[in-house]
Amino acid sequence: MIEQNLKELEEKGIYILREANARFKNIAVLWSMGKDSTAMLYLIRKAFLGKVPFPVIHIDNGIDFPESYKFRDELAKKWHLNLIVAKSEIKPEISGFSCCGANKTEALKKVLKDHKFDALIVSIRRDEHSVRAKERIFSPRDKNFKWNYKDQPAELWDDYSSKIENEGHVRIHPLLDWNEIDIWNYIKKEHIPVNPLYFSRNGFRYRSLGCTHCTVPIKSSAKTIDDIIKELKVTTIEERAGREQDKEKEYVMQKLRALGYM
């Protein structure tokens, strides 16, 4: 995995966040207590003089990990977050993902509408999935959250489009160019708090976090951030394509589920 220059990534992330602040009137941040969205909250504090000046939304389906709830409440207190918990229902879903997917989207739509948010800061990265590789830094969504990937806005140099389609909103992606290993390196460097689920207990840990229903752990003995970084470096592409392919598939499918609602 390619480890990029953290200073440059951070500098660009801060620039993007400050651009968003200048262009939009009512911004919110999406938080899942995962490593990416937590690192993003930290980056927001860096960009805005130690504060998170936007409301932080947690789309809660009620069956998240107890560890995540604890992590959420403690960090919200510590960092003085303006936390909005938007409850999502567990409903029958066409694709079979009953807890994530469309149901979280409904809750997100409602919270955006109720508060009239015009921009949403989201922690997705290009390397998470090839679908995300196509995203823009400022990515518009229409009022039905449809992502018109066939006709995305132009983004020349660091000029980010801020045209909002009627009743839509714009997604801001400050971590788009970061790799998974960059996130962990940043967490290590800056001592960013981490959800305990990422660390191994009884030979298992979670590499990505969804809710208690759809998340499956991986076999790992990584107990510290250094262990996790080492593990990431050693897991070569060959390993994933070969022996570990099923696990990789499952991991990616989980991500799809988690991201699907966005």
Binding site: I2, E3, Q4, N5, K7, E8, E10, E11, I14, Y15, R18, E19, N21, A22, R23, K46, A47, F48, L49, P53, R126, D127, H129, S130, V131, A133, K134, R136, Y149, K150, Q152, P153, A154, E155, L156, W157, D158, D159, Y160, S161, K163, I237, E238, R240, A241, G242, E248, K249, V252
Partner: protein, 380 residues
């Protein structure tokens, strides 16, 4: 690790996908199993093999055929990493091609040496656009040399044709390289191929590596220029685009030409937060600070070389340093699509800018039409 962005220009038929796939395989960035799987999947779907398929690990995504936008492939090589940006070729997708190419530092152009192929009209347009966006280093990879017996004559023929095409804007290009080879057989991609015995240069990857390693020039004695983004509480956010912040120096807010004193509050690389004395907070967005008034030009009448995707209009918008300005163009010539125009435009208000080849951040703008739809870009 430093990551260098390289845009790959060329016809689909010239072998772009095969080249990216081959680079990925040879450098072991993507497993051969995955590439073969991608080839099998695309065949099954009746689609042509595209670089995007290497990244698409699952059926769902390939079936959706997400090949409409830019795709990036990160390839580690020695002590650096290259981010190859593949851009769509179709005219209707030029907006996406511009987005992908605008952040690249150099370009690899693939030209097929196969009889009947060669330098296409589309590739010529992309080279011109890439150069106008700011890319001044190009490596031309003459592909499919295996179809003509690795003929020196054929390679030189293409060489000459390309050179002739580049002549009108050769002064805007700092480096031109040529590498003959074959993506299919891996000739001259990673290593020098013995089959092309008459060619004494290095392989494509070695050439790119040499270029990035010799790349960065540090210009000393540059004026300090900070573009301002917006305010937050009592601070101002900005980005240093030239020089570095020196405290206790006089700065000028441009284009207003107002003297101000600044105090650096926080610095994160080039992103800074400042305290500025002596000014009206509400009117600083998209303006800039400089410690040398002569480092920028101020006017509302700008001479620019512009590219209009759907053709030029009289009234439109430009997006300069993140803000949109109304612009008027008096263009008397033919109004057709994909047009290059060298003209003066009048803006609704004065801006502080600079020539593109002096300070690129201050010499470029995106073009939007009356309805705020993207319509091209311009270079001052």
């Amino acid at each position: 690790m430093d990551v260098y962005k390289i845009v790959i220009i060329g016809d689909k038929d010239a072998g772009k996908s095969t080249l990216i796939g081959e680079i990925a395989t040879l450098t072991k960035s993507v497993s051969e199993a995955r590439i073969n799987e991608a080839k099998r999947e695309s065949k099954k779907l009746g689609k042509e093999f595209e670089p995007a398929f290497i990244l698409d690990a699952f059926k769902e995504e390939r079936e959706k055929g997400l090949t409409i936008d830019t795709t990036t492939v990160e390839i580690p090589y020695k002590d650096v990493a290259f981010q190859f940006i593949d851009v769509p070729g179709h005219e209707s997708l030029i907006k996406n091609m511009l987005t992908g190419a605008s952040n690249a530092e150099m370009g690899v152009v693939i030209i097929s040496a196969k009889q009947g192929e060669g330098l296409t009209r589309e590739t010529k347009l992309h080279i011109k656009l890439a150069n106008m966006l700011g890319i001044d280093k190009f490596v031309f990879f003459i592909n499919k040399m295996d179809t003509n017996g690795y003929s020196k004559e054929k390679a030189i023929e293409i060489w000459n044709e390309t050179h002739k095409f580049l002549l009108p804007f050769i002064n805007d290009i700092k480096y031109i390289g040529f590498v003959p080879g074959s993506a299919l057989n891996g000739d001259n991609i990673l290593k020098r191929s013995r089959k092309i015995s008459w060619y004494k240069g290095d392989s494509l990857m070695e050439r790119l590596y040499g270029l990035v390693k010799n790349g960065k020039k540090i210009d000393k004695n540059m004026p300090t220029i900070i573009t301002l983004q917006g305010t937050f509480e009592d601070k101002i956010f900005g980005k240093i685009i030239s020089g570095d912040i020196k405290q206790n120096k006089v700065y000028y807010l441009m284009p207003d030409n107002k003297k101000v004193f600044i105090k650096l509050y926080e610095k994160n690389g080039k992103s800074v937060s400042l305290k500025i004395s002596n000014f009206n907070k509400s009117k600083i967005e998209n303006k800039l600070l400089t410690d040398d008034k002569n480092s920028v030009l101020v006017s509302d009448l700008i001479n620019a070389k512009m590219f209009f995707i759907r053709g030029p209009e009289k009234d439109f918008y430009i997006s300069f340093l993140g803000r949109k300005y109304k612009a008027t163009l008096n263009y008397k010539g033919n109004k057709k699509k994909l047009l290059f125009v060298n003209e003066a435009i009048k803006l609704e208000e004065k801006i502080a800018y600079q020539n593109f080849n002096k300070i690129k951040e201050l010499g470029r703008f995106a073009i939007y039409d009356k309805n705020l739809n993207f319509n091209g870009f311009g270079i001052i």
